[in-house]
């Protein structure tokens, strides 16, 4: 093993975690990296299990592997069958694969089931200093705990199942410092949308981001997960936040968290993780939280974002012909005029959910606005908790009643309309404000048009039926 702390050069948390997980490194080849936790779901794993079967291989470390179903499942009441036969087969296959290979599986009948990036943190499986992978690009979510967590393809899912290791090239390091005080109505979602609007959706390519600064320190674990979740939308391989007391308090006492003396020893190890003074990053930028307003996207990628009271940019202002055509194409798809504000634009659907914003604090934020009010009769409002645990907590707090009384639909846990492969989707031409992470063409349903925003902006828009600056309702 290299770099176990004897180096004199100060290291970032990214380098420390990386170095601790290098199993072997040969000249001319990528490092062989050990994976501490492998998250598995129904969509990107079946071909990997088939590969294991063809080679006669076992899962090397079922004790470091966990599976759940989230992407292709309906969010209708759980007693109902999955009507889509192809999806039903896929979910059934995951269950069979988990039995055959000895992997614990939180299926539809489990009270631990949830989105593959919501469930592990709430179960205490996501812990500082780990390497975490999943066949899903939003695995970066788990970086909120001070771990290196990234999405992988199905070939790599097979590699990890068989060997608990991956061949990986070292990433560049990218520090994003956020300082200052968020104003009322401005949230973690607005920080990350502002960052992506600034660096572009390819701005973090080949990098792992470390988010730091006073604003990040002040965020709750759920807010930190929202920020890290969308690192991939800036093109980054992963995004993480050094662990601190907020992290330890969140993890402590959860089902899979270390207990007793093991807990004390773990915290001692975790306290050595943060970046050392004088450590150098390949790139650094600073964001002033004081200057941030609520953000919303207008186009067909997450980098096409503006402050909610801004105006849609004009292709005629862009010199580069390809960039100009990319923006023009986006505005044609969205059927939006250039140079006009988004506030006041009618929407058909509001979706509150996804691995970005479906945790209890997101639901509380939305409920705080919807309480005692009615959503616009022109808008279909869907609230989809990220897990069975979130759903149970929301019910215990009476949030489900607030949503239903307001005229919103409160559904079962899953990815739902974020990915539109499960029956929840926009119809062609519909506009939706969504708390999810992607506004690509057709992402939320063929022909559907997505505005990405925070749960507060989504709830405000649900009430008025048009895109609304939440600060006018606070």
């Amino acid at each position: 093993m290299s770099g176990t702390g004897t180096n004199s050069r100060p290291r970032t948390i990214i380098e420390k975690i990386w170095d601790r997980h290098v199993v072997a490194e040969q000249p001319g080849a990528p490092a062989l990296l050990f994976i501490d936790l492998h998250l598995v779901h129904e969509v990107t794993s079946p071909q990997a299990f088939s590969g294991l079967r063809q080679r006669g291989l076992k899962v090397r470390r079922p004790d470091l592997t966990i599976a759940t179903a989230d992407h292709s499942i309906p969010t209708t009441p759980r007693g109902l069958p999955i009507i889509d036969k192809i999806a039903a087969t896929q979910v059934e296959q995951l269950g069979k694969n988990c039995v055959e290979f000895g992997i614990p599986y939180y299926g539809l009948d489990s009270n631990r089931q949830g989105i593959v990036h919501v469930m592990p943190p709430e179960q205490g499986l996501t812990q500082p200093g780990m390497t975490i992978v999943c066949g899903d690009s939003h695995t970066s979510t788990h970086g909120a705990f001070g771990s290196i967590a990234f999405g992988i393809g199905t070939s790599e899912v097979e590699h990890v199942l068989a060997t608990q290791c991956l061949l990986q090239r070292r990433s560049k390091t990218f520090a994003v410092r956020v300082d200052g005080q968020l104003k009322p109505g401005v949230t973690a979602k607005d920080i990350i949308l502002a960052l992506i609007a600034r660096i572009g959706i390819g701005g973090g390519t080949a990098s792992i981001i470390e988010y730091c600064g006073s604003t990040i320190r002040g965020l709750s674990m759920e807010e930190r997960m929202t920020v890290c979740n969308m690192s991939i939308e800036g093109g980054a391989r992963a995004g993480l936040i050094a662990p601190d007391d907020t992290t330890y308090q969140y993890v402590s006492g959860r089902t899979f968290a270390p207990k007793g003396a093991d807990w004390d020893a773990a915290v001692e190890r975790w306290k050595k993780l943060p970046t050392e003074d004088g450590a150098a990053y390949d790139r650094e930028i600073t964001i002033d939280a004081n200057a941030l307003g609520p953000m919303i996207t207008f186009g067909t990628n997450p980098g096409m974002g503006i402050s909610i009271n801004g105006t849609v940019p004009s292709p005629s202002d862009i010199a580069d012909p390809m960039e100009r055509e990319t923006l023009a194409k986006a505005l044609r798809y969205m059927d939006l005029p250039a140079g006009k504000p988004l506030v006041g634009h009618p929407v058909n659907v509001v979706f509150i959910g996804s691995c970005t914003n479906s945790r209890i604090s997101d639901l509380r934020a939305a409920a705080s606005l919807l309480k005692g009010r009615k959503v616009s009769p022109n808008v279909r409002v869907m609230v989809v908790p990220g897990s069975q645990q979130v759903k149970a907590q929301a019910q215990a707090e009476g949030l489900d009643k607030i949503f239903r009384d307001a005229g919103a639909d409160f559904r079962e846990a899953g990815c739902s309309m974020c990915i539109a492969m499960n029956g929840d989707q926009l119809q062609p031409g519909e506009y939706g404000v969504s708390t999810s992470n992607r506004n690509f063409e057709g992402r939320q349903g063929k022909g559907g048009r997505t505005f990405l925003a925070s749960p507060l902006t989504a709830a405000a828009t649900a009430l008025t039926g048009v895109i609304t600056d939440v600060r006018t309702l606070l």
Binding site: D63, A162, F256, A266, M322, M421
Partner: protein, 194 residues
């Protein structure tokens, strides 16, 4: 890998994996037949009929093995269905000014070359759809119609795997003693079976 092919050109930046293959086609448990859904929502109209003006539906695109696309190709999800669909359709290389990380890794594992070229070369290729190019992995060269040879980067390990047919999983499995030695020393704090 050494081949010659005409190009198909998509002059659009940031083509994401939801365009390459929409999520609703990921409910399959096999890798087969994904070429049918490649660029589905750009390729077919609401009735499922091919749109005649979409580049892949034009007669001159038939048989093309090289796709030229805008910057940051393959951004978005980790779905390996994207390179599966592209290779099943017949593509062996994509040329752009940059690629998203996960897509690039997935492509290299499936024999699809992500070729990064400088902006001037890219602009020339975008401006001449159907141009015949030569690609030679061993020498890492892309030869343009005029005969100009452009070197493209690829990491040495991926190149060797593609040229020698090295199977990455087989390569990792051979490191079993090192993995076992690492596991013996490792201090873990999670057991999902507990």
């Amino acid at each position: 890998m050494k081949f010659e092919s005409k190009t198909v050109v998509f002059p659009v930046d940031n083509i994401d994996t939801d365009q390459i293959i929409p999520a609703r086609f990921l409910k399959t448990i096999s890798k087969e037949g994904l070429d049918q859904q490649l660029f589905n929502d750009w390729r077919y109209d609401a009735n499922g009929q091919p749109k005649p003006d979409f580049v892949l539906n034009r007669p001159e695109a038939k048989g093309a093995q090289v796709l030229v696309a805008g910057d940051n190709f393959g951004c978005g999800s980790s779905r390996e269905h994207a390179p599966w669909a592209l290779t099943q359709f017949g593509f062996r290389a994509v040329i752009s000014t940059s690629f998203a990380d996960i897509f690039k890794g997935n492509s290299l594992k499936n024999g699809l070359l992500p070729i990064v070229v400088p902006a001037d070369v890219h602009a020339a290729l975008i401006a001449s759809p159907g141009a015949v190019v030569k690609i030679d992995l061993a020498s890492q060269t892309l030869t343009l119609p005029g005969g100009r040879a452009v070197e493209f980067p690829i990491d040495a390990f991926s190149k060797q795997c593609l040229l020698d047919g090295v199977d990455e999983l087989g390569y990792i499995l051979k490191r079993d003693p090192a993995i076992a030695a690492y596991e013996a020393k490792r201090v873990g704090s999670v057991n999902t079976l507990a």
